[in-house]
Assembly symmetry: C2
Homo-oligomer: 174 residues x 2
DNA sequence: CAATTTATGTCAGCAACGTTGACATATATG
DNA sequence: CATATATGTCAACGTTGCTGACATAAATTG
């Protein structure tokens, strides 16, 4: 008999069936996220990279000069987990690390030209897919999509996301 | 020098910087999905299960009597990849397989009572988080969220998602 | 200056989740 | 009977993580 830790007893709602629209959203999220990442995965394969490499390329490109520990904070993985991925990217000439001028313990990470080009391709692919979905669902839906995602990310990660661009278009009715 | 396969040359748009709102949505999707799945992961740990077990429990619960190959079609993994996960679930008494009456090669899979209870807990957790985000972002945003996800899933997977529940509430203005 | 803390790197061992390829078995179908 | 299908299993391997232990260089602090 498997015995889950009897700590949180505040789950009396557990036996309720989930609302159909919530259950549907859960399923959609699974399929949509898989298709979304699969898009980029196929491009990364050509370089011998995986999804972990993509994340490093993305966030180093997003925060040029980020330190290793800064990257670890964003990715929420250990340095031992990052090590082979970052090592391969540096050996392959996609990421370079230069010591910080004032604190020479820190290594500031940058993308090479080649990596920047790859990042643009990856982001362009995902943007294209997302833009198609936005176009299909309409601008109000796109706005709602983003707002729900914002509400979903944990407070610890909120500040890491780019600030919302100034609203423009049909929604800014002054 | 790494050399990507020079097949698709139709990517001239690649050098364009992605629109800020699209880039923002990409980031949000990464953080939101990670937080969303992490929620369930912590519960699964108590049982010695991982995310792969979750997916099997979810889809067997969603399609009682599904065959092994039907499950593989949904998950898009190989039977060798499924084998240890499904094997553990069956040994632990969470999934049972009974031969189909007419075609006895096929094994129809079902959740046990215990697994159904676990599935309800997992789905309830995720529903709660999603419902909170929906409440925070508002019903129109929730609707837009779902519509964008629908547009994102590949056509091959569309039919696997539960049909949209009949619209009710403020959006059905007759 | 000496001691400690911080940032980073590295080695070993392990686990989850997936892959390809090869082969086996039972059943269905022509 | 011959072939195709559904499933299972074994072996080898790869990616992406984990924990624990230890090393080094540089900064900070007493």
């Amino acid at each position: 008999m498997i015995e889950p830790a009897p700590d949180t007893v505040d789950e009396g709602f557990v036996l309720e069936a989930a609302a159909p629209d919530l259950r549907r959203a859960i399923e959609l999220l699974f399929f949509a996220y898989r298709d979304f990442t699969g898009e980029a995965d196929r491009l990364l394969e050509r370089y011998g990279f995986g999804r972990a490499h993509h994340r490093v390329i993305y966030f180093v490109g997003r925060h040029p000069g980020i330190s290793v520990s800064g990257l670890l904070d964003i990715l929420k993985i250990t340095k031992q987990g990052l090590s082979p991925v970052l090592g391969q990217l540096m050996r392959d000439g996609f990421v370079v690390g230069r010591p910080d001028r004032v604190d020479r313990r820190r290594r500031r990470l940058y993308l090479t030209e080649e990596a920047q080009a790859l990042e643009r391709q990856l982001t362009a692919r995902q943007s294209t897919r997302l833009a198609a979905a936005f176009a299909c669902a309409g601008p109000e839906a796109a706005d709602g999509f983003t707002r729900v995602l914002e509400a979903m990310v944990a407070a610890d990660d909120r500040h890491r996301v780019a600030p919302a661009p100034p609203t423009e278009g049909p929604l800014s009715v002054p």
